[in-house]
Symmetry: C2
Subunit: 210 residues, 2 copies
């Protein structure tokens, strides 16, 4: 198909497609004349993944490129590719390594030990968690640390449900794509459902049904 | 206290404090001479809330100002102030109101009906949810819609745990501050714990213990 058709199918405007080609997020089509190229279903699919990463995950062009490299690295299992891509999806914030930070890292280690979870030292989730805990300390919100165990419980349930769902996918590329897209979307969906649930609970509490 | 002490106590640099004063996110101190002012514990506390909204919640200056206005609006109950502040914390993305969007809105309504949750039409969580569902449609990830009910279950558990925790807070300002800070941090913490749980589950699945 030509670029206009690719644009229609992927819902990505032609100038944006050209930008993705220039920045090498999208691999080139097969050149058929000096100013025309043919694109395939693989291009449609790749554009959808790029959109998911940029529009939903809020990733930069550089971060998107890194995730795509991990997703389609040759010689890796689908599970490993998905894992590495997910590591690359986390935007690491700069950390102030003061006493509070050290305390937060210890609290994170203690939590993961208590849960008995096997989590590599390189998993950026450790740093995100320590960073959030350090913020609770800095803002004087330490009583809220008690909520960490409740959150761990629900996060595990979410992870189990999504991995059980993914386990049914037999095509390795589709597995990796679904894992990456759902990683980005799952956060947004949890956040929205949590706010919806909060309103329902508060409404019931403050205006009991007669 | 003077501005240097306020900076030390709040861990916010003096130029940033001056910027917050100029943009009226922070209320002025009591002027003691033409170039000096005295600040109070209320300033320390407000600076912590501003940091939470900007650094953790990722809010813009304009959005932060809106949230602060809702948080401290006179004549509102703490629960209402917290609710309104939370509405203001959601960054609404522009929506393309096409057929896919209409379908996603219907799916959102159906989900909330099925759950029996009372969620106002004005709650931005509805739009965030519809937006995420529309993305699943657009990316051809419709099988993942099955995960919505699992996510609703865990989101409700999280909301119940945090509201039960908050219910113990008797000072209305502290209640609103904790609610707003935890709203921003809870998303980050869930996201990190979910990734940690994913690694643990995948590790156990792919390398069984002997």
């Amino acid at each position: 198909m030509r670029i206009a058709e690719l644009s229609r199918r992927s819902e990505v405007p032609v100038p944006t497609i050209k930008f993705y080609l220039r920045t090498e997020l999208l691999f080139p089509g097969e050149r058929t004349s000096h100013n025309q190229a043919q694109y395939t279903e693989a291009h449609v699919r790749r554009l959808k993944v790029i959109r998911a990463l940029i529009e939903v995950g809020g990733l930069s062009i550089a971060a998107t490129r890194e995730v795509l490299e991990k997703m389609y690295a040759p010689g890796m299992s689908a599970v490993d590719s998905a894992g590495k891509a997910q590591f690359a999806m986390v935007t690491q914030r700069p950390v102030i390594e003061d006493e509070t930070w050290e305390r937060a890292v210890k609290e994170t280690d203690a939590l993961l030990d208590r849960l008995g979870w096997q989590v590599r030292a390189t998993n950026p989730a450790r740093q995100s968690l320590a960073s959030a805990i350090a913020t609770l300390y800095r803002l004087g919100q330490t009583p809220q640390l008690k909520l960490l165990d409740d959150y761990a419980k629900v996060a595990r349930q979410a992870a189990e449900a999504e991995l059980a769902h993914l386990a049914g996918e037999t095509d390795p590329d589709a597995f990796v794509e679904s894992a990456v897209i759902w990683t980005a979307l799952g956060d947004v969906i949890f956040s929205a459902l949590r706010r919806a649930a909060q309103e329902d609970i508060v409404t019931r509490f403050t205006s009991p049904q007669e």
